[in-house]
Structure formats: C-alpha cells, structure tokens
Symmetry: C2
Subunit: 381 residues, 2 copies
C-alpha cells in the first residue's frame, strides 16, 4: 500500500479554477469530485494515500453553484506548487486530462500572488504600447499585410502606404512565414524599412510587427532577427507554437518587443458543446500570462462566429485585475470593415486595437486615403 | 489595385485536406469555397489578384461529396509551398483560422512526398521501439509512476517493482514536472537507476520515460538531462508544449530517444459539435509528423469518452501509409484495468502499447505480482 510522505512542505497557497459543468446537481458534483483526482493524482479515489497526498495534492471542491437545472459552476482549488512554476504545468492542472472529458468548461482562473509571481506577463501592456505608438487615448488602428503571394517589395509598398495613411500597427498576415515566394528575412527588412521611411515623413510612430511563429528551434532566432532589423513588435500564434513559446519571446530581454497574439488553431477551445475554455480565460487571462500585449480575436459581425457577449467577455479578460500582470489590448478583427467602426467603439470603448485587414482595400481605390479615413474616424472617437 | 507577381515559381505539388462540413450541399460548397480563401489569402474574393495568386495560392476545391443530407466531405488542395516547410505552417493551413468557424472538421491529410520530406517523423517507430525493448511481437506493456505527491525515492521503488514484474515501458505520470516535492532531476536519476537495476536482475530491457514537458526554453535541456542520466525514452505533451516542440525533441540527434506523446489539453479538438480535428488525424497523422513513436489516448470503456470507432480510427491513423514516415504504436490507456486486456487485444491486435496505470495497484496487494499477471496475460496474446 502506498503511503504519503509525512510532509510535502506545501505553502498552503492555492489557486482556483472556476468550471462550468453540464448536468444536474448530482452529475455536477460527481464531475467536480472527478476533476479533483483527474487533474492531480490520476488515481482511483480508494487508492489515494491518506495524509499529505489526499490533503495537499488532490484538488478541493470549494463550491458548487446552480446556473440552470442542467448547468452548474464549481470552484476547485489546487495547491500552487503542483503547477511546478511553469505555464505548461498550470495549463495542465487547469484543463489537461479533463479536456478529454465531456461537459467541462474552464470559466475563469483565480490566481493568488504566489501563483502570479512566476509570470512576468505582458512587458508593455496597454500603457507601454500607447507610449511606444504615441497614441495617448484613442483606440489604436491596426491592419495586416496581405494577401499571401505578394512579393516582399509589394508588401513593403503596402506597409509604406498604411503607415503614411495613419495606421498605428501593421502586422504580417499570420499565414506569412518563410515561403520561397516571400522569404522571412527579406520581408522583414523591406517592410520595417518602409514603415520607418513613412514615419520620417509623417513624424508618427507606426510599428511593424512581423509574424515570427516558426519551428520551435527557430522562433527566438526569427524574433531576434526582426528586432535587429527594425521591427517594432512581433506577431505570434500561441495555438501553433505553444503558449509558453510566446511567453519565452515576450520574456526574452534581448528581444523586448510588444507581442501581439493571433488565435490560429485555438478555435476548438470555444466551439461550444459544454467543453473548452471560456473566451474570457483563453483570449484574456491566458494571453496575459503568456506575455501578449494585444490579443487578436474574431469580432462579432465579421467572417467568424463569436457573439457580442463573448467578445465583451474577452475585453473583460484582457482588463480584469491579475495582481501585477498588466491589462492588454483586446484586438477585434476578422472581416471588419470601416462601417463597423462605430459599433466596435460602442463595444470596446477606447482601450482597444481595431484591426481592419481586407476592408481597407475595399473602401475606395486609394489605400492611403482609406487609411486616412480610418484614422480620421478613430480620431473622432 | 493589387497585382499578382508574374510567377511565384511554385512546384505544382499540392497537398490535400479532407474536411467534414456541416450543412446541406449549398452550405457545404460555400464553406469549402470559404476555406480556400480563409486558409491562404484571407482576402475578400473580389479583391484577390488574378493570375499567380488566384491560381496558385488560393486553395482549390477538388471534390465535394454527400455523407448525409446535413454533412458533406470536401477535399481541398493547397500548394505545398504555402506551409513554408514547417509543421506550424502546415497546422495553420490545415486548421488555423477555420478552427474559429463552426461546422468544419479536419478528417484526414493527404500529403505527397514533397510535403512529407520536410518531416523526419518518428525516429524509432514500431520497429525501433520493439528492437529497443526486445519485444518482437506481443503488445508492449506500459504503466505510469503515480500518484503525484510521492517522493522521488518512492517513485523509484515503484519503478523498480514495475520493471521487476515485467513492464516494458514505465513513464512518469504527465502531471509530474519539477515540483518542489518531486524535483525533476532527482526523480529522473533515481527512477532511471531503479529501472536499470531491475533490468540487470531480469535481463530484460525495460525503458523509463520521464516527462519532460517544460518551459519552452528548458524542454531540450530536460530531455538532454534525461538522456544523460539513463532515461530510455521521453514523455511529451504536445498540447501543452506545442506539436513542433515535440518534433524538435524527436529530431535532436543529441537526444535520439523514443518519444511518447500524451494528449493533455488536446481534448477540445475532438469534443464534437462538427468542429475540430478527427481522432485519426490528431492522434495518428499529426503525432507521427511531430515525431512521436507512441501516441497515448483514452481508450473506450475507461474514465474518458472516446468511442470504440474513434479508438479504432486512431490505430488506423498510427499505421496508415505516409511515405517514409513510420507507423507508430497506438497507446490506449486512461482508466484501464487488467480485465480490459482481452478487449484491448481484440481492438488493437498486437501492434499496440497497453497502458495500465492505477489499475496495476488494484488487482492485488503486491505490485510486482500484479505486473507479472499483466505480463503473463500479454505473453499469451
């Protein structure tokens, strides 16, 4: 028979995960009890050693609350130490094995100081990115270099026009990596140069953010290359590269650039059916823990399927108090056009980045004029 | 108006993704057309430049086939070059943005040689792992070191008993990382030593696979430490660390150990509702591209919710022809007990690893005897 060590020397500090559970109260309580085992000891309840393991390692149901007859919310706490001081470990405790079980959705993380202190969080946050862009209070304007297939010269010419027209943040489309028809290094050099040239003409501080998601062994290298060649920020896809790979880029003092997170491959977490991670947590809390300064997501009313309520919850997750972890910019995009700006302003207020991609090519024939129109609308907001 | 470059110098080689689409035929055709744009140019159809971009970059619907009145299957092809020679890029083209849209599920990848040659795939595969374990034809037996909270000494004692009893592969529970009550380096040293000691007594080739998922900047370091301290394989969670981080570990010639993949955090991809990535692709094809030699998943009839049919499809994805990419071991587990062995044998045949964790502590009071019973049953299969 296995026995607990006499003392695991745990601090007693615990973090909480709020889960939404499908089923009536009995089913929800059974799910909650199961989560306590599944996310820690992964052991049959009857075999869990009494003492320090049962008392300190196994999760603890703090509360179960009825939402509807068929949905309940449970708060479950875990010893801070079991996440092992790592984001990968935290993700695992929060939703590792139980992602494989039906009817369990992560609603919210409640992390005490001791859990938060292992994360630096966003290096710039809203305040830093505003300072860097020299935009003290209006929403920031962002667009993307596309379509894939344009040459680095063509993308640089577009970047120049966007910057001239008053865009604040110009990112690569996240499909641009290091294709033979648009090599990473040439693209970064040309686009960064074009944006700096426009900035000299306008006196403004437009930032170019190349997409650096790459092989695990090349991500830091690409980020450093971007930094050394004039990029003012970086675009990373944590769904493709891993949340902690983004955290690594954000935390690296040699890089020290704002990081914008793109949601590629993350959609299944919010696809519904009672499974997954809530928008608030995924696009708000987790992006901040993983070092993003801005979190892109598909806005309501565009090409994608997020509801207004879900979008609002993302903005809340980007701003909710999290100890010393700064608030970040919600960055709604995904098929936005200029006529959606008023509504975006109504939803997000000023603490947001408005991302308009293809729509900037559609308003009129002159891209610079379209940007000026976009910038003028934002000035008046 | 944007213009295509005259020539993108594409090879003409294309890979195909088979998607299952919700909706009637008209809806499915609209979804298929949308995927072609969304996964490539991310641009309104009317603005896509004619010529090389429209012809070469935009995806192409190769076929649409009716499954039921409300489900269709579409084959969509993409130029090999747009994945940029990277697994992260391939994942993005296959399911990046469209993971955020409802009613689209990846069913299968069809990759030509030119797409496959960027991947080394599993270094060992079924044949290599059999050679290493000296088990020529029966199913391999695997168990996990748990529960979390045991000290490195206690886990090492368990590892010794498992190895003595005839287990082939002993992995860390994936919740074990580098907790203060069970530090990584001490655990690896003690458990590897214990397994080697048992092997000297039995003359067998039991392998210890520590869990090395960690911060992005420490993963390779942990894998190297494990290698240098007697580990015979590694356990990695690609859902936590990123698929390409696992690929990096598998491809590193300094490490050169078998990799077992754990499904933590991947559950939402197969949670249903018409969104996601099919079991065949996620736990079979993608694990192989990402270098796993064995793919753990929750077997039917255990603590999780995969169906028999889904489990069979995983085994098929582990074995389906993929050019030079070797077949790998399906590794069903998750709440298995000894009385499930016959059924596992019926489902998977001999080309599988049977993973029994807590169940090995339940059969009787003596762990070594329980393992011997497990091994004897497997011998007779």
């Amino acid at each position: 028979m296995l026995a607990s060590p006499p003392d695991l020397r745990l601090s007693g500090e615990r973090f909480q995960v709020i889960y939404q559970l499908s089923g009536d109260e009995a089913a929800a309580r059974a799910k909650a009890a199961d989560i306590c085992l599944e996310q820690t000891v992964e052991f049959p309840d009857s075999l869990v050693p009494a003492g320090a393991i049962r008392d300190g390692i196994v999760g603890r149901v703090e509360s179960v609350r009825r939402l509807t007859a068929e949905r309940h919310e449970a708060a479950i706490s875990f010893a801070v130490e079991i996440a092992g001081g790592e984001l990968t470990g935290l993700l695992n405790v929060v939703f590792g094995n139980i992602s494989l079980k039906p009817g369990i959705r992560v609603e919210r993380l409640e992390l005490p100081e001791r859990a938060l202190e292992i994360f630096r969080g966003p290096r710039f946050g809203i305040a830093g990115l505003r300072r860097m862009s020299d935009v003290p209070d209006r929403p920031l304007l962002c667009t993307a270099l596309k379509p894939m297939g344009l040459s680095p010269e063509q993308l640089a010419e577009l970047a120049y026009q966007f910057a001239l027209g008053g865009i604040d943040l110009i990112k690569d489309d996240h499909g641009l990596t290091d294709q033979p028809f648009c090599p990473f290094e040439e693209r970064v050099k040309r686009c960064a140069e074009a944006v700096h040239r426009a900035n000299r003409e306008t006196g403004r501080g437009c930032i170019y953010l190349p997409h650096v998601t790459a092989r695990a062994d090349q991500l830091v290298e690409r980020a450093l290359f971007a930094k050394q060649n004039g990029a003012g920020g970086l675009l990373v896809c944590p769904g493709l590269a891993g949340f902690d790979a983004m955290r690594q880029i954000a935390d690296d003092d040699r890089i020290a650039l704002p990081v914008m997170a793109h949601p590629a491959l993350l959609g299944s977490f919010t696809a519904g059916g009672g499974n997954g991670i809530a928008h608030f947590t995924l696009y708000g809390q987790l992006m901040r823990l993983a070092g993003a300064d801005a979190s892109i997501f598909p806005n309501v009313g565009g090409r994608f399927a997020f509801s207004r309520e879900e979008c609002v919850s993302i903005a809340q997750g980007c701003a909710a108090p999290m100890g010393a972890i700064q608030p970040i910019f919600p960055t709604p995009g995904g098929g936005m056009s200029l006529d959606r700006l008023q509504d975006m302003r109504a939803i997000y207020g000023r603490e947001a980045i408005f991302l308009i991609g293809g729509g900037l090519h559609q308003h009129g024939p002159d891209v610079v004029e379209n940007c000026r129109y976009f910038a003028k609308m934002a000035q008046e907001m």
